[in-house]
């Protein structure tokens, strides 16, 4: 699933946030968008996820324009986890996962064997089999996020769009969710485009990272290339120290706000 974003201009209520932005997500990679609040990374994700219609430009998924595609057909190949989601008090993990089959089912058609096995696989992948009868609202934050990921997995997508999937989670749950995303990428070959705030998590689990600023992609490259004092200063206005381990993993240690006057 190769995703090409071509000269996208997009925003809310005539205020354009993205300005002729270009980006290519290669098939099978995890590409993470980073940038300060309001830089347009969520806007980009929403435009790709057809929540926003771009005023200019196209988003092409495997040769097809996303905003011209049938929304049900698109939902069969692209799963999206936005920041805001709700669910009823008495919804169980299994029922929520079952909702992921919505784009594949006709009205009044009962679950087919294929639906059932897809739901089962989604529960296995997210390690939620033993919690299938639990109410979503009785789960821990990490389990709950995994349940929502199980739902989009049941769509049997090839591309995942995730908007800050680790927000509000404690550090263990953050790792749990990130390891799950890495596993889906590795074992199912899912292409992932996501937004993260935690630079170290992003660097640890991404194939490539891209910085967003002023409605454009300002830098794109491997985590080792993007975790760079100059790039981070230009993107976030922060001073950082970068630690590089012999195995190639990089860590960032932010320690001060840059002095904008100098």
């Amino acid at each position: 699933m190769k995703l090409e974003v071509n000269k996208i201009s997009s925003g809310y209520n005539n205020v354009l946030i993205l300005d002729k932005l270009n980006l290519t997500v290669q098939s099978g990679e995890i590409l993470t968008l980073i940038g300060p609040n309001g830089c347009g990374k969520s806007t980009l994700l929403k435009t790709v996820g057809r929540l926003l219609k771009p005023s200019h430009g196209t988003v092409i998924l495997d040769g097809k324009n996303i905003h011209r595609m049938n929304t049900v057909k698109l939902a069969q190949i692209m799963g999206m986890l936005p920041q805001s989601h709700y669910c009823a008090d008495d919804l169980t993990v299994e029922e929520l996962t079952g909702y992921g089959r919505f784009p594949h089912r006709r009205r009044f058609q009962p679950f087919t064997a294929e639906d059932r096995s897809t739901i089962e696989n989604a529960l296995v992948m997210t390690r939620l089999q033993h919690l299938r009868k639990r109410n979503i609202n009785t789960l821990s934050g990490g389990e709950r996020q995994r349940a929502w990921i199980a739902m989009i997995l049941a769509q049997s997508p090839k591309l995942l769009l995730l908007d800050e999937p680790t927000t509000f989670l404690d550090i263990r749950c953050q790792l749990e969710v990130m390891e799950l995303i890495a596993k889906l990428n590795r074992e199912l070959g899912l292409t992932v485009l996501m937004v993260l705030h935690d630079l170290n998590l992003a660097a640890r689990f991404s194939t490539r990272m891209a910085t967003v600023g002023n409605g454009k992609i300002t830098n794109i490259g491997t985590p080792a290339e993007i975790l760079n004092c100059e790039i981070l200063r230009a993107t976030f206005n922060i001073e950082t120290r970068i630690l590089r381990e012999p195995n190639g993993t990089s860590y960032v240690l932010p320690y001060a706000v840059s002095d904008l006057d100098s």
């Binding site: 209520n13 929304t71 049900v72 698109l74 692209m78 999206m80 009823a88 919505f102 769009l161």
Partner: protein, 346 residues
């Protein structure tokens, strides 16, 4: 709820599926029995008491006082109560679903006040046209709903904007109603029945004028349960699953307006069923719209028949409007349900 905490203790999957399913089927059966009992009571009770066998005889005979009472007065009234109660409850359930707001009800989409204003205009200002009362109320209700949708529209109608514009337009229409009544004090009594939700003057002709709309609205509401479940996950998630959220919300709003308009046009301002019945049923049967919708329809019907029958009995030979009874017994019952539900959750 106690039901799902039991699921935690017993992780055997078949048992849970069966018990939850059979619980919900059981609730629907109980509600149906309740509806049948309420209907039978509504036919039997009144200033002239009839036993059930007398009713059967009266229906078979074709002549006599008993037949007149049952066939011309009580039967249309019970059926009308059932239709109106079901329509209002379904309308409220739809609105609470598409707006994801527990306070949504037929009142806030302006249907009640729109229908009310049109009815008051006919009754007070143009009494010569009072044979068109039902149609005027129907038109007023739908016009108000449409106006609210248009005011809320801005690249899509967000639920919160719908609610706020609904509240604003409703109070505007309410002010107009009050003003008209104040300037025509001698006609207030004639309007009072309409403004408190009374079924005292209803007949087969009322039934004939609304049943096609109530029925088609009801069928659409039941068919849409699956989409309401998806919309309940949030607009963004629903879009991600391939739901056309804006289009669905517009269609559901139209269906809710149609249901409420058909109810308001014959019984007047009787909104409380639409607010409370969905909550009661949600507490009992759960939030899954595939079960909630039929539950609401049956319960709304039973509730209104009961309230109307009580209203006929408590101060006989005077009649208290069903709306008044509803407002008296509805809230305490609702509060009791809320309290017991909270106990289960802690």
């Amino acid at each position: 709820m106690h039901f799902t905490t039991s699921g935690r203790r017993m992780p055997i999957k078949i048992t849970i599926i069966k018990s939850r399913l059979s619980y919900r089927i059981g609730v629907l059966i109980l509600l149906t029995l309740l509806l049948l009992a309420a209907s039978a009571w509504g036919l039997c009770a009144g200033s002239i008491k009839l036993s059930f066998s007398e009713i059967i005889d009266a229906m078979n005979s074709g002549v006599g006082v008993a037949r007149q009472i049952v066939w011309d007065i009580r039967l249309p009234r019970v059926i009308l109560c059932a239709i109106v109660g079901a329509a209002l409850a379904l309308s409220g359930a739809i609105l609470q679903g598409i707006m994801r707001n527990p306070l949504a009800s037929p009142n806030i989409i302006g249907v009640t006040s729109g229908g009310g204003l049109a009815a008051v205009l006919i009754l007070v200002v143009f009494p010569a046209y009072s044979q068109y009362l039902v149609w005027a109320a129907f038109g007023g209700a739908l016009t108000a709903a449409l106006a609210i949708y248009l005011v809320a529209w801005n690249h899509g109608a967000q639920p919160i904007k719908l609610i706020l514009s609904g509240v604003a337009i409703s109070s505007l229409l309410g002010a107009a109603i009050t003003a008209i009544l104040l300037f025509n004090p001698e006609r207030v009594i004639g309007v009072l029945d309409f403004s408190v939700g009374s079924l005292s003057s209803c007949s087969w002709s009322h039934l004939k004028s609304i049943w096609p709309y109530a029925l088609s609205g009801g069928i659409l509401a039941l068919l849409g349960a699956r989409d309401l479940n998806i919309i309940a996950l949030g607009d963004e998630v629903a879009t991600g699953l391939g739901q056309r959220v804006e289009l669905s919300r517009f269609i559901f709003l139209a269906v809710a307006a149609l249901l409420a308009a058909s109810a308001v046009s014959v019984v007047g301002l009787l909104g409380f069923v639409g607010l409370v019945a969905p909550h009661m049923i949600r507490i009992i049967i759960g939030a899954d719209f595939r079960w909630l919708m039929p539950g609401c329809a049956i319960f709304g019907a039973a509730l209104l028949i009961t309230c109307d029958t009580i209203g006929r009995l408590v101060m006989a030979p005077l009649e208290l409007p069903a709306g008044v009874i509803m407002a008296l017994i509805g809230p305490p019952f609702f509060l009791w349900l809320l309290k017991t539900r909270l106990k289960h959750e802690t």
